[in-house]
Each structure stands twice: as C-alpha cells, then as structure tokens.
C-alpha cells in the first residue's frame, strides 16, 4: 500500500510539488496579523481560499473528464452565468405557492436541467455531427451567453435578503460548509468514477486511441456524450454557488472561467491530448491556483502582475510534466 503510494507520487507527483511549494512560500512570506498570527495559515484564510475556488474547482472536475476523453468545453463560463441567472429569475420573478424549500428546489432543478441540456447539445453535435469540440463549444459559449442576456434583458437580477426564499438560498449556498463539501464530495465521486468504474476505463481508452477503442467495441459516442452532459451539469451547479455568493444573477459573469478551469486541469497533470489525467491532480491544480492568488493578494501585489505570474506557473507546470512517463495511474 505504501509502496503503491510512493510509486504513484513518483509518476504523478508534479502538481503536489507545486502545492507544497506554494504552501511553504505562502507561510514563509505571509504577513502577520496585528495579533501576531500567521495570516496565510489561519483556518479562516485557508477556508476562504477553498470557498473562493469552489466554483472553478467544481467545473474543473468535469472538465477533467472531457479533456481525458480528448475533447474540450469552452462553454462552461457561459453555462455558469446562465445557471446563475435562471436560478435568480426563478427565485425572484416566478413565485409559486409553497414553502421556501420547494421554490429553491425548483430553481435548482431548472438550472440543472438547463445545464445538462446545453451539455447534451454540445455532446450530440460533437459526437454525431462530428464538429470539433473546440469549435462547437466556442459556438455554445457565445450562444448561451447571448441567450442569458436576452433572458434577463441584460440586467442583473438581484436576490433578496432575510427570510425570503432567495435570501435563504443565498445564505445557504454561499456558506463555506456547503460549497466546500459540495466540491469535496463531487471530487470524491469523480475520482471513483474515473479510476474504478467501467465508464472511467472506457473514457481513458477512448481519449488515448479512439480507433482502437472503437475496434474494441466500446460505445465511443455514448461515453463522450456523457462527459459533456456532466460538464454542463457541473457548470450549472457551480453557477448556483456563484449566484449565492454574488447575491445576483449576472448575465455578464463567468467570463474566462473556462480558461481557469482548463488551467487547473493542466497544472494538475492532465494532458490536453487526452488519455491520461487524474482528479487528484485537478484538485491540486485548483488549489495551487487559488493559494497562489491568495499569497499575491495578501501581499497586495498589483492585480495585473497576478495574471502574468499565473501564466508563468502554467508554463512551468506543463514543462515539468513532460518528464512523466507513467502508466495510467490507478490509486
């Protein structure tokens, strides 16, 4: 067991090095609060980072699947905005009779179904009509954004406060326990699906060599379609947290989130070519990005410099991975 752990670390350890480095850097360089505590390591700060990264983190989980299957999904940012707006509209504009829980449940359902349908559209066109994933999801990215703007009249839909259903929703879904445990449980489920189920095995085979996988009789189209549906669905769930945290449905939000998610996946060791990758890596990559931003913010580094530093990290991460020659890791 320990043996397997070291072997895994040897082949897939790069993102962990990054994580450890950032943690140490952050601790060492951390400012001290007025009462002397190390700000960076304070539980409040660390859980802040987890909360701040939860949306990207959730999207990145599903993105890992899509990328392992040799695809890509650029529409997740737009789906997030769409989901946030649908949720806000359902809670604020559409008022059925019934308890708060019911109204919130219906809003969640609407957002989830919407996200899954968009994912299904992506998957269908990519697998049946054989449009390239980059092209199709780019189109969806633009189309869904336009649809969301139309739906809201390009106006933000603010959620209420106090005991209103929307206020309750915002309170619950933006709370640390909820967001962090949602991310964590989805990560665990994703990890298990990828490493322990038939679906996960098929996905990796298809991503590495689609021809051979087809010649083995694997259901290539269905597996890919499922990955895209999953991506749309998880982007929608991230949108729920987003709506709660920003207390509104903003049709112009989420721009660039797809790139952050892809960056997290890539830093975590998944190759854009498909076939290899891990959820543990993606979670690590998400944490690396979040902690890095946190360290920079604690030092009041110019926010524009932040972007350049992020770029350097991404390049460094991918460069380190070139020396990785392990077998598809299973832990």
């Amino acid at each position: 067991m320990i043996d397997k752990f070291w072997k895994y670390l040897k082949y897939h350890g790069q993102p962990f090095i990054g994580l450890v480095l950032i943690l140490v850097l952050g601790t060492v360089l951390s400012p001290h609060a007025t009462d002397g505590t190390i700000v960076f390591l304070s539980p409040g700060n660390l859980t802040d980072v987890l909360l701040q990264q939860s949306e990207i983190g959730i999207i990145a989980l599903a993105m890992t699947f899509v990328i392992i299957g040799a695809g890509i999904d650029l529409s997740v940012g737009s789906v997030l905005a769409f989901s946030a707006c649908v949720t806000a509209l359902m809670l604020m504009v559409w008022n059925p009779h019934g308890p708060t829980a019911l109204q919130v449940a219906i809003a969640i359902l609407a957002a989830s179904v919407g996200g899954a349908l968009i994912g299904a559209l992506n998957g269908f066109v990519i697998t049946r009509i054989r449009l390239q994933p980059f092209v199709m999801t780019l189109a969806t990215m633009i189309g869904v954004r336009g649809f969301t703007k139309w739906l809201t009249g390009n106006v933000n839909v603010d959620l209420g406060f106090d005991a209103t259903p929307s206020g309750r929703f915002a309170e619950l879904f933006s709370s640390k326990p909820f967001a962090i445990s949602l991310w964590l449980s989805l990560a665990i489920v994703a990890h298990l699906i990828l490493t322990r189920t038939v679906y996960g095995r098929y996905l990796r085979a298809i991503g590495e060599n689609e021809r051979a996988a087809a010649y083995t009789g694997l259901p290539v189209r269905k597996v890919r379609l499922a990955a895209y549906i999953g991506c749309g669905l998880l982007a929608a769930w991230a949108g729920l947290i987003h709506a709660a945290r920003s207390h509104q449905g903003n049709p112009n939000d989420g721009i660039g989130y797809e790139l952050d998610a892809i960056a997290a996946v890539v830093i975590g060791g998944t190759a854009l070519a498909g076939g290899r990758g891990s959820i543990i890596g993606t979670v690590t990559g998400t944490l690396v990005l979040g902690l890095l931003t946190n360290v920079l913010r604690l030092h009041m580094v110019d926010s524009n410099l932040e972007l350049m530093i992020k770029a350097v990290i991404i390049i460094a991460a991918v460069w380190l991975q070139r020396r990785n020659t392990g077998v598809h890791g299973e832990l």
Partner: protein, 317 residues
C-alpha cells in the same frame, strides 16, 4: 519526477525560508484598506489619488488600495482576504449593491470599522456611508435642461437621449429619478432613447452611434457621467450632428480631461461637480482610528454644484 527536480525544489524552498526570515514586522501603527471597485474610471482614479495624498500625510498609516477591475466576485474575494489582515479601517467603494452586502457584513462582524464610499449596498452593513445626493444632482441638471430647451424652442419641449451607467448602482438610479422628477411634469419633453454604457466613454460612443441612426431628432444628451457624455459628443461629431444638441454630464473632475474643462471648451453644456467623498472619508476615518469613543453618523451627505459656461472658470483647477 527525477531526483534533480526534487533537489531543485528543495533549494527553492530553502531560499524562500531565508527570504522569509528577513521580512520584518511592519513599522506602521495602522493599516487602512481601500477596496476600489474599478481603477480605470477617471472619477475613481481621482479618488485613489486623493486617498493616497490625504492618508499619506499621516505617517503612521499604511494605506493599501485594491482594484477589483469592475468584477463584483473579485471584490468579494479581495475583501475577504483583507478581513484576514485585520486592518484598523476598511473603506469600500462597492461595485454593485447586492453582491457586496454580505461581505461587508462579515467585515463588520469581524469588528472592523467599515466606511461605504459614495455607492451603497442593499442593507446598511457599514459604520458610515459617505454619499452625495444623486437625486438632487439629477434635479439640478433636469432643471438646467428644461431652461435650455425653453430657450431653444420658446417652450419646454424636446427630445432627450439618456446614457446610463451600471444598472445596479444607486447613483445611476437616483440620477435618473432626479432628472425625471423635473421632466415628468412637462408633457412635451420626451425621452426618446436610452442606452447602457457602464460609465465608459468608449461604450458610450458606440451606443450613441447606434442611437444617432435610430433617432432623427435629438435635442439633449444626458450622460450620467462626464466620460459617457463626452463619448456621445465624439460620436455626434463624427456625424456632424454635434451642433444640433447639447450634452450634459456629471462628475466635474479637475484637470484637462475633466468635466469642468470640457464645459469651458464647449463640449459639454453643463456638468455637476460630483465630490470624490474622499476628504470626508479620511476625516471620519482618522477620527475612528484615533478616538475610540467616536461614534460616526450613519450617513454623511456632501453637496454638489452645477457648472455651466458662466461659472466654469471659477471651478477649474
């Protein structure tokens, strides 16, 4: 990863540890964090400059300015991090009302005094709000417009086009309401077009170009801040239509690019000085820092003034 990679990482770690040891504790007694929503607007850039100058006069204060780049989610995260720093004072210029409400509540709950600058949030989770009466400004300008139209046509009638800022902001809503308070009483004064330009000059130019094609007769362009009004002017000038209408804005900033100078040049017919609110904020903030028994008012209102071609020279700085 190879062993050389591990060695390299280890060296880097040691280097950082050494670097860390050399960082000393802060010589400042007070830390003031100012969370600005968007550095790139001229009004806000002026606010930042004023903040730095005024707080800079107090040697025991360390001022930190954060730029949220007009992204509410980013501002929320920045304030969350700022709270961890346990500053003695937090000043926030919120990007939007609803999103920033919860996080400012958290700051209050963490026993940090919070000053809300110029814009407000959905619930009063702050120590003080330093504001300008935007509705009064709207009325001032509205009245000015009525006077101009009356002069032009002999009676108060005409077509008005409005350029709006970010919809979720109090200033936007009140500036509009104030003007309409006046205009709604004149049936022959009509608002024939409105576009959202998010306080930006370039967006306003684009929106105005569209409006120029859509609306044949425009008498007044009411830009809810100076940059938008100027942007509209530029768009009209491209079509050689700038003489047929007047442009009014709000901000009245100093300097060559500011609203006052534009009035003097004849680009804008009028503007309203929109105080930066920084003087008051620093004044109240200093009291809060030094005097623990000081209880500030919940709201401080700062007055404005109308600037036209007649009195522009007196306002120009």
């Amino acid at each position: 990863m190879s062993s050389s990679g591990w060695r390299g990482a280890l060296l880097l770690l040691l280097g950082c540890a050494l670097a860390g040891c050399t960082s000393e504790s802060s010589p400042y007694k007070y830390t003031v964090v100012f969370s600005q929503c968007n550095n790139s607007e001229p009004y806000r850039a002026a606010q930042n400059a004023a903040m730095k100058k005024l707080w800079g006069e107090q040697p025991d204060v360390h001022l930190v300015v954060m730029d949220a780049q007009q992204d509410s989610v980013r501002q929320i995260a920045e304030i969350e991090t700022a709270i961890r720093m346990k500053p003695q004072l937090l000043i926030v210029a919120p990007n939007e009302r609803a999103p920033l409400t919860e996080v400012m509540k958290s700051a209050m709950e963490a026993h940090i005094p919070v000053l809300c600058l110029e814009r407000d949030i959905a619930e009063p989770f702050y120590t003080s709000w330093i504001r300008v009466d935007n509705r009064a400004i709207g009325r001032l300008l509205g009245q000015f417009v009525v006077t101009c139209l009356a002069k032009k046509y002999g009676e108060p009638r005409g077509n008005i086009v409005e350029l709006a800022g970010l919809k979720g902001v109090e200033a936007e809503a009140n500036r509009k309401l104030g003007a309409h308070d006046v205009w709604d009483t004149y049936p022959k004064i009509k608002v024939v077009g409105e576009a959202v330009a998010n306080w930006s000059q370039s967006l306003a130019k684009d929106r105005m170009t569209e409006l120029l094609s859509a609306v044949p007769q425009i008498d007044v362009v009411y830009g809810r801040n100076d940059p938008m009004a100027v942007g509209a002017y530029l768009a009209a000038r491209e079509r050689d239509r700038e003489k047929e209408m007047i442009f009014v804005g709000i901000d009245g900033l100093a300097g060559e690019a500011g609203g006052v100078s534009k009035v003097q040049e004849g680009v804008l017919a009028a503007t309203c000085i929109y105080p930066l609110c920084v003087d008051k904020a620093v004044e109240i903030g200093t009291h809060i820092l030094h005097d623990s028994s000081f209880t500030p008012d919940k709201t401080y209102t700062i007055s404005s003034a109308l600037v036209t071609a007649d009195n522009a020279a007196t306002f120009y700085k």
